[in-house]
């Protein structure tokens, strides 16, 4: 079916999902129960206060609802599920619902539907679960399927289970679709006057404990119960498979015809008239015989009854009327059900649309084409049971198809394979998708005999629940695949104490000056009393492990912050205590600064806010700038953590999108104060080398483009004679690398600080996101080029804003709409509804592509 396919979709593309959800064992992919809602549930475990998995997902949930409310609706959202009258009233106590004979089961037999109100469904299910361990939809539901109501409202047919219970562990016939007749127009119907002919038996099976969806209609060609069988006194069974007809051998050879596809045993009990007199003119009306392709032939043992009648598939009625097909609940309604039956109590006790009800002699009886005349009368004068056989002649497949369509009219699962499903239903290996059919219920609630098989839906799309109470279960999702473990937070570790071979003092500017003076004093003191420089050197080495006191100083740096310090002390150079006040530095060698700001889009989070239209650069003090992708940070918090390393004088900026580091950049933060001439030269040399290197690479790249005439190019040629060509790009890359090195190895602060400690710090010490926004092409006097609302509105009106929306053109409500790939179904003119010609369709396609203004 296209199971109309909304709900069922493809069972096999998702069963793994279901298994994942339910933890059910993975079955093979041909098991019907493998797809939702056919998850296995142990109904025996329900008890009186069930908590276990009856309602394990939406599908089953819907199934329960629809079943318990007597309607299967594949397309409507839950809150539009058609339900019984009482359920439609949210104020009605649920206690009143569920008992036979109450309004709960009074079917909505008018043209208007009753919809399940919000929350009622939950309560309803709750009630089921809380108080009723058994599926209420089957409890105390009348299932008599006789063709007329009775005065007592009880079933007329023997063998029908009024109260089918799930405790039946074998397929149980619960719905019994029979044709029927009556012996006079206004006679009360009784148990003895009916005609049984071709039947559709719907079996329900709980053996798999699927819940309501375990209802299966099984097309069975009917025999009938032996009570009235005066012919053989034995039950006669005829079974139909798609290919053959099987009779039990108890049947006499007389009735084994050459090509009958369906034979049915008829029992007509001839009785006296209601006035007690005998009539020998009993009409046998209303035979449920397949459609025009099939003829019904009655053959009784006397060979006198033979007539053709037309099978009217039951679904035709629903298709053509404004009613729908209920499944449960048969409360004979209306007055005069005895003698003036205005309610036809055939399947579903469906009331028909005839004015003032349907009389017994006119109108259309459910599923039957009423035949008021022309039927052969039984001329026997014998009061009592008369038995007939009828045959459905015609092509086997045609007849079966008609039966299938009729069964499909119930909107239930059914099978045309009596062997595998009805008789051997408990053998799950026989339950295959090819054998399982499901009647399609259209979105308007009607059936029309369409059915589908599971095997035909393996590629059907899955339904996405859209109910207000839906769970997160989305059957259309593919089976979950293992995902990576995502984490969006970078972890910064705490750095412990740092042991060093040096000693670090935190001092102020005054101490620096004192230290410089002190060095001279030390030198003077040590040299006092002698001019022997050899001795002096020994003293230096003894005192400072070097021959020059100033070499005891490893470095002197200035940082743009208060350096973390602890206890006060004095500066000691080697074995000499200078007595200069200082502080010991904290053992931790790091210093953190944090910056952060939420970055909002400027152009409504449109494409203009992103590359290549908008570019963003982040300036980090002492580290320079780095280009960022706006997509990484728009709508998020741009955080920067700047870590200062007091050991090396460097700073590292960690750039974070929210809490995740996406970039890092390094720079030097400390001003190296030259202590010796050598150090000063070294710093200057580094700077010069970097600049010269860049210049050299630039020259090389330029020369390469001119034909390898530069020194660099020639040298490279000599170095690499095989290659012979010095790639321009290669040189260019090196130039860029050199420039990068210049910027990063010799960060501006470092350079400036080396030359001028004060001047370097004049640069911005804040993190700053520099944004290059695009501008419009329109210039307004006195304003930079830009767009404004007027211009954007004009653009929208003339060109339209780019978008990608799937939907009807009318969904845009107003204004210009430009579409592509239109579905030109149903293009008719406005007034008379003339369909468009091919040339007009081309014009329409072009018009939509050009744009239409609503």
């Amino acid at each position: 079916m296209t199971v109309d396919t909304s709900i069922w979709g493809s069972p096999y593309t998702e069963y793994d999902t279901m298994n994942a959800r339910t933890g059910a064992a993975d079955l093979d992919d041909t098991d019907f129960e493998d797809f939702p809602p056919f998850v296995k549930n142990d109904m025996s475990a329900l008890g009186t206060n069930p908590t276990g998995g009856r309602i394990v997902n939406e599908a089953l949930y819907i199934g329960y609802l629809n079943a318990s409310h007597g309607f299967w609706d594949f397309n409507h959202p839950l809150d539009q599920t058609i339900c019984y009258t009482a359920l439609a009233n949210p104020d009605l106590p649920l206690n009143d619902i569920g008992a036979v004979g109450t309004d709960a089961f009074a079917e909505p037999i008018s043209d208007s539907y009753n919809f399940l109100p919000p929350k009622r469904d939950e309560a309803w299910l709750y009630k089921q679960k809380k108080n009723d361990p058994q599926p209420i939809c089957f409890i105390n539901c009348y299932s008599y399927m006789h063709d007329r109501p009775t005065t007592t409202g009880t079933s007329q047919l023997t063998g029908i289970l009024y109260n089918p219970m799930y405790s039946n562990s074998y397929p149980t016939r619960f719905l019994y679709y029979v044709g029927g007749g009556y012996d006079s127009a206004n006679a009360g119907y009784d148990t003895n006057t009916h005609l049984n002919n071709v039947n559709i038996n719907l079996y329900m099976s709980y053996w798999r404990d699927f819940g309501i969806r375990s209802l299966f209609g099984v097309i069975m060609v009917y025999y009938f119960d032996g009570t009235y069988d005066t012919k053989t006194g034995l039950p006669q069974n005829i079974e139909v498979t798609p290919q053959s007809l099987h009779w039990y051998e108890s049947q006499t050879e007389l009735w084994r015809h050459g090509h009958p596809i369906i034979s049915a045993y008829l029992d007509v009990y001839i009785r006296s008239n209601t006035d007690g007199t005998y009539s020998n003119s009993r009409r046998v009306d209303q035979c449920f015989i397949p459609d025009t392709t099939c003829n019904l032939r009655f053959n009784d043992s006397w060979g006198t009854i033979s007539e053709k009648h037309v099978w009217q598939p039951i679904s035709n009625y629903y298709k053509n009327s404004k009613n729908y097909m209920p499944l449960f609940g048969h409360a004979p309604a209306g007055s005069g059900v005895t003698n003036t039956p205005n309610v036809i109590a055939s399947i579903g006790n469906q009331k028909l649309d005839g004015t003032g009800g349907v009389s017994s002699t006119s109108g259309i009886l459910l599923g039957t084409k009423y035949v008021n005349s022309g039927f052969k009368t039984d001329t026997t004068s014998t009061v009592g049971l008369r038995s007939f056989w009828c045959e459905l002649e015609g092509d086997i497949e045609d007849n079966l198809e008609m039966l299938r369509k009729t069964a499909a009219g119930y909107g239930l699962f059914f099978s045309d394979d009596v062997y595998d499903l009805a008789d051997a239903g408990r053998d799950e290996d026989r339950w295959t998708d090819e054998k399982m059919c499901l009647g399609v219920i259209k979105s308007n609630g009607y059936t029309d005999g369409t059915y589908t098989k599971g095997s035909g839906n393996t590629a059907a799309p899955n339904y996405i629940w859209k109910t207000a109470s839906q769970s997160n279960y989305d059957p259309s999702r593919p089976p979950p695949s293992p995902e990576n473990t995502y984490n969006t937070q970078t972890v910064f570790n705490s750095i412990g104490d740092l042991a060093t071979m040096t000693k670090r003092y935190v001092i102020n500017a005054s101490a620096v000056q004192q230290l410089a003076a002190s060095l001279w004093s030390i030198s003077s003191a040590l040299s006092d009393g002698g001019t022997d420089f050899t001795d002096l050197t020994d003293k230096y080495i003894d005192m400072f492990l070097t021959n020059n006191p100033i070499d005891a100083i490893v470095s002197l740096q200035r940082y743009p912050m208060s350096i973390p310090k602890v206890s006060s002390t004095t500066i000691k150079l080697g074995k000499t205590d200078t007595g200069i006040a200082a502080y010991e530095m904290e053992k931790t060698a790091y210093f953190y600064l944090f910056y952060g700001s939420t970055i909002n889009p400027k152009f409504g989070d449109s494409f203009l806010d992103y590359e290549p239209y908008t570019k963003m650069e982040l300036y980090i003090p002492f580290c320079g700038t780095i280009q960022l992708n706006p997509a990484d940070i728009i709508g998020r918090t741009l955080n920067v953590q700047l870590v200062v390393d007091f050991t090396t004088g460097t700073a590292t900026g960690f750039i974070m999108s929210d809490d995740l580091v996406i970039e890092t950049v390094n720079g030097n933060i400390a001003i190296d104060i030259p202590v010796t001439g050598t150090q000063a030269v070294t710093v200057a040399s580094q700077l010069n080398n970097a600049i010269a290197n860049k210049a050299n690479r630039t020259l090389e790249s330029q020369s390469a483009s001119l034909g390898n005439v530069s020194i660099g190019g020639l040298m490279r040629i000599v170095k690499d004679p095989i290659k012979m060509i010095y790639s321009y790009q290669e040189a260019r890359n090196e130039e860029e690398r050199a420039e990068y090195d210049l910027q990063h190895q010799n960060a501006p602060i470092h350079i400036i600080g080396s030359a001028s400690a004060v001047g370097g710090w004049a640069i911005d010490l804040q993190c700053r996101l520099i944004i290059y926004y695009p501008s419009g092409d329109v210039i307004i006097t006195g304003q930079p080029p830009q767009w404004n609302d007027v211009q954007l509105a004009r653009y929208g009106r003339t060109t339209g804003f780019a978008c990608c929306i799937e939907g009807q053109i009318s969904s845009m409500n107003s204004g210009l709409v430009v579409g592509t790939a239109p579905d030109l179904n149903g293009m008719v003119t406005n007034v008379h509804g003339y369909a468009a010609t091919a040339a007009e369709l081309d014009l329409l396609r072009a018009a939509i592509a050009e744009g239409v203004i609503i």
Binding site: K503, Y505, F544, L545, T546, V554, L556, P560, M561, S562, I563, K575, D577, M585, F591, Y592, L593, F594, Y595, G596, S597, F603, G604, D605, L608, A670, L769, I771, Y773, S775, L792, A793, G800, F801, A802, C803, I805, G807, Q808, S811, M812, G815, L816, G819, A821, P822, D823, G826, T829, V831, H832, G833, A836, T837, E840, L844, A847, V852, I853, I854
Partner: protein, 160 residues
């Protein structure tokens, strides 16, 4: 066959062109053409009437379609020829509205979306440069800090 004449100044892309149009014919004009009439590009002959000279739009009830009058010609015998081209937009307006498609441009979105729109004029050279200062959320730099010097000396030697 009758036609109803309009004078409309509505954008050709608009589905409804007659609501704000000037109705020129109080009652539809009956057409009694003697020549063939084409569905897509019909030519209607009507009696000359100067009021009709301003018509640029018409509705033909037989075809149930709307037409633009591309030109008119005054013929002999006081006949006015109206040369027309079909306007599928108004003729099939309701069906167009119900048409499902991929909408790639729309006016009432009212602003650029994330879909890149190369039609939107963007100055290729001019950029608006601005910046956002990221506030410090912890300790900050202090270039005037007193104890900002770090002296590192060789260590490990005992003070005598």
């Amino acid at each position: 066959m009758t036609i109803t004449l309009y004078s409309t100044a509505t954008d050709p892309r608009k589905l409804d062109k007659t609501t704000n149009a000037t109705l020129l014919t109080v009652t539809p004009i009956t057409i009694e053409n003697t020549d063939r009439i084409d569905l897509l590009s019909p030519v209607f002959e009507i009696a000359m009437n100067t009021n009709y000279m301003t018509a640029n739009y018409l509705y033909c009830d037989t075809y149930d379609r709307y037409y633009y009058i591309t030109t008119n010609k005054i013929n002999t015998a006081q006949r006015l020829e109206l040369h027309c081209e079909i306007d599928v937009r108004q003729s099939f307006a309701a069906a167009i509205l119900a048409t499902e498609c991929t909408i790639i441009r729309a006016e009432n979105i009212a602003q650029p979306t994330r879909i890149i729109d190369k039609n939107l004029p963007v100055n290729p050279t001019s950029k608006i440069v601005t910046s956002i200062v990221l506030p410090e959320t912890s300790q900050s730099f202090d270039t005037d800090a007193e104890y900002s010097y770090l002296l590192t000396v060789v260590g490990g030697a005992p003070i005598p």
